[in-house]
């Protein structure tokens, strides 16, 4: 039943829009669309962003793995390599630190009226994506596949049942959030 729903393209575009509205609403209510909150996170003076991300990860993974167990959801882990994930991740981080928004929160910032996010962030990101599409063939041949490790997940890598990873990680995240709440804010 869900499978036929996934194939209804017009309906899926509408779902995307509705889910995006919820996502944007939440990000703005959480303060994650504020430059000051994001820079505060990167300067380690405001832990709002980490609290949002980690609590989303705990709730998200329990549900997604549960539904996968029932056979109604599938995982889509992204492939990775040292050349793409680590180098790209560091370049992203530098841009993230300079801009003070990430792609999703930047769009949310535009929605709340931040003109630097629109004319700086969005325009810049379109230019950056354009540059990447230009150099992609070269990068693909040289660096992107260096140290390729594929679409692997932690349970596969550790050869453990997924719950044997999910539960300890959830406890670890809860402990970390407790420490952050107690000592860092």
């Amino acid at each position: 039943m869900l499978k036929t729903l996934h194939e209804k393209q017009g309906m899926q575009l509408l779902f995307g829009l509705l889910m995006g509205i919820v996502f944007g609403f939440l990000l703005q209510k959480g303060g994650a669309t504020q430059y000051g909150v994001i820079i505060g996170q990167l300067l380690l003076t405001d832990f709002t962003v980490v609290k949002i991300m980690l609590s989303a990860v705990v709730v998200g993974k329990i549900g997604v793995y549960f539904f996968r167990g029932l056979g109604v959801a599938q995982l889509h882990p992204k492939p990775g390599s040292i050349g793409s994930t680590v180098i790209g991740g560091l370049i992203f981080g530098v841009g993230f630190g300079i801009l003070g928004y990430c792609p999703g929160t930047m769009i949310g910032a535009v929605g709340q009226g931040s003109l630097d996010a629109l004319f700086g962030g969005v325009v810049g990101m379109l230019i950056g994506a354009g540059i990447f599409s230009e150099v992609y063939p070269k990068l693909e041949r040289s660096i992107l596949n260096k140290g390729y490790f594929g679409e692997i997940t932690w349970p596969q890598l550790l050869k453990k049942n997924h719950w044997a990873v999910i539960i300890p990680v959830a406890i670890g995240i809860a402990a970390l959030l407790f420490v952050i709440d107690r000592f860092a804010s």
Binding site: L13, G16, M19, L42, S55, G95, G97, G121
Partner: protein, 172 residues
């Protein structure tokens, strides 16, 4: 409905909400939340306006066709959702220079614009290089326990923390 008009919600409420939303996206759309591919597609659509359909021949656009898809609509929705949230709380305000920036670097829009443009461009390259952003890797990938995403998000924050500390001159 007063809670809809409150300016800020607890980060835990927001995080739990995003976690629940990810259940819905996996169930109803078979898709993880992500934001950065939509920028590639849009960039391709803009390029097509100038260079015509041969843009579709570029190897990168063969992987990510320059067209509107689920994720593109999601990004449009983020804009609308944030607008609604800001409007309801009275927080909507056209602003060139964020307060935190102005306190340290002054309130000249031009300076902030140039820096944001450089940051956005760098981030755009990095997001496509790493194959995802703070949403696609940072939330959706980590919740799937993908090794690539845990590695990516660690690198996002290492790069971001060092850069922000250099800019604000607070390196320990």
């Amino acid at each position: 409905m007063e809670w809809l008009m409150t300016e800020r919600w607890s980060p835990y409420v927001v995080g739990i909400g995003i976690g629940l939303l990810s259940w819905v996206t996996f169930l109803l759309s078979d898709k993880p939340i992500g934001c950065s591919t939509a920028f590639s597609r849009t960039s391709g659509m803009i390029e097509r306006l100038f260079r015509g359909t041969k843009v579709g021949e570029k190897p990168y656009y063969k992987k990510f066709a320059p067209s509107v898809d689920w994720e593109w609509m999601l990004v449009l929705g983020v804009f609308i959702g944030a607008f609604l949230s800001a409007k309801l709380s009275g927080g909507f305000q056209a602003q060139w220079v964020p307060t935190k920036w102005a306190v340290t670097f002054g309130d000249t829009p031009f300076t902030r614009w140039i820096v944001a443009l450089i940051g956005g461009t760098t981030m755009g390259i990095g997001a496509r290089w790493a194959g995802g952003c703070t949403s696609g890797h940072g939330i959706s990938g980590t919740l799937q326990l993908a090794v690539s995403s845990w590695l990516a998000v660690i690198c996002f924050f290492i790069g971001g923390i060092v850069t922000a500390m250099l800019i604000y001159n607070v390196l320990p």
